[in-house]
Amino acid sequence: MSAISDRVVPSSGHSGWLVWIGAASMSFLAVFALALAVSAARLADTWSAALAQSATIRISAPPAELEGQTEAVLEVLRTTPGIRDARVMTVEEQGQLLSVWLGPDLPLDALPLPRMIEVWETADGPDRQGLRLRLSAEAPGAIYDDHTQWRRPLISAATRLRGLSVLALLLIGGVTGVIIALAASAAMASNAQVIHVLRLVGARDRFIARAFVRRMTRRAALGAAIGTALGMLAVAGLPAFGPEATSGLGFQGLSWLAPLCVPVLIAGVALLAAAATALKVLRGVT
């Protein structure tokens, strides 16, 4: 008996098949967009970490005051929130940096080299304005250089990339919903005769809607599961673009769990779409 009440909606038919295919191809795309978003976020993090969170403090002062000001600067840095670490550069390191501009045979000792301190900021960074004020009070010869100028376009590019991927994900999500809802409603409408016959033999709305919604949701979930699996396989099979393993496109570690939400969400969308359409179609049939 339950066998037939499950079978009152035709199992094949083109529009049912469309629900299946629609769910599969949209979840394929969604997995892809998700991979893009996840990788973009990771890429942006990497860049930000590499580029944004380092700065330099240069202390130019008479040799006698140099040591004192350096101590003062380090103390200020230690008590400033937003600073992860700080380290005084050795003379050799400074020489290496300068050799780019001055050649290797540099008379380091003859130069009035300023003292350089390498600073690593946290993700949020310090309050730069406040830091500069405190530095100029404690160590007048110190200049805080956070490389703002040359890092700016890269940071904005990384942010933009992350934003774009999220936008693409939202877009694909929206289109997915629309397509699934349309396919479900087309499947429902193309079964108008089935609904008509069932109403004529005395079936209640609940009976008919349940049969439809169950079948539709099952089909969408199956399609989405297969589309997701294919999408994950495709993402896993993507060639790595860069030499570094962590910067390739795709999921890593726990982020492999993210695409598993896709079939659940799509089945949910299909359920809502099918239920809404079923009730709408049924209201039009006596």
């Binding site: 008996m1 037939i4 009152v8 035709p10 016959v197 005395g202 209640r204």
Partner: protein
């Protein structure tokens, strides 16, 4: 069993019939006749609630169809049997499942024996596992009648149930309906087959209604 009060129906191009009042007693046997396009099918559709009259009221078993909720209408349909002129089936289910559909759809117990007996009475044992689209015209009509009577309905509405059947088979279906009527089912058959009406009149006391010129008349014994 069926009460029409001042019913007028109009599909949009002028009234098909006007101020029709009729009353079919429980257990009665009626024929409905009239020229093609007079409104016989429309009359039956009004009786089982597929259409609502433009004016007037239709009551089945004492309850006014206009006052029924959708679920009450469905429940009412579960207690009557209908043979449609175009015999609609679920084309993906075999004949056996289609005949049992009124029971499945209302979650009533299905006795496989009854279905087999009914199929053999209408001569469709061999087609029990066939899909409706492969049936011949007459086989469809016989399956439609079987589906209509599987619930032992208190009211049977049949629209041209023998239009595609040879005389022997028509007789057989008629005797099935007469048998049901003897067991208390109210019967209303729309047909243009005068021979069928004459044969029935010789076996059961029946009345003939005739739709023509927007009116419903009661034809006498003369036809």
């Amino acid at each position: 069993m069926i009460e029409l009060q001042d019913v007028t129906h109009d599909y949009g191009g002028g009234a098909l019939f006007e101020n029709v009042t009729a009353s079919l007693d429980p257990g009665s046997f009626h024929f409905l006749t009239g020229p093609s396009g007079a409104g016989k099918s429309t009359f039956l559709k009004l009786c089982y609630g597929e259409l609502r009259p433009s004016r007037g009221s239709v009551a089945v078993g004492g309850s006014d169809l206009r006052a029924m909720s959708r679920d009450e209408l469905a429940a009412m349909r579960g207690t009557i049997g209908v043979v449609h002129q175009d015999c609609q089936f679920l084309d993906h289910l075999d004949v056996r499942a289609n005949v049992g559909l009124p029971l499945h759809a209302t979650a009533r117990p299905v006795a496989d024996r009854d279905i087999e007996d009914l199929l053999s009475w209408v001569g469709l044992n061999a087609q029990a596992d066939a899909l409706p689209p492969t049936l011949s015209g007459g086989e469809r009509q016989r399956a439609a009648l079987a589906r209509a009577v599987i619930t032992a309905p208190r009211l049977l509405l049949a629209d041209e149930p023998t239009g595609n059947l040879d005389w022997d088979m028509s007789q057989r279906l008629l005797s099935l309906m007469i048998e049901l009527n003897r067991m208390g089912t109210t019967i209303l058959i729309a047909t243009h087959d005068m021979n069928l009406i004459r044969t029935a009149k010789s076996q059961v006391s029946s009345r003939v209604l005739r739709i023509a010129g927007r009116r419903l008349q009661s034809a006498g014994a003369d036809l």
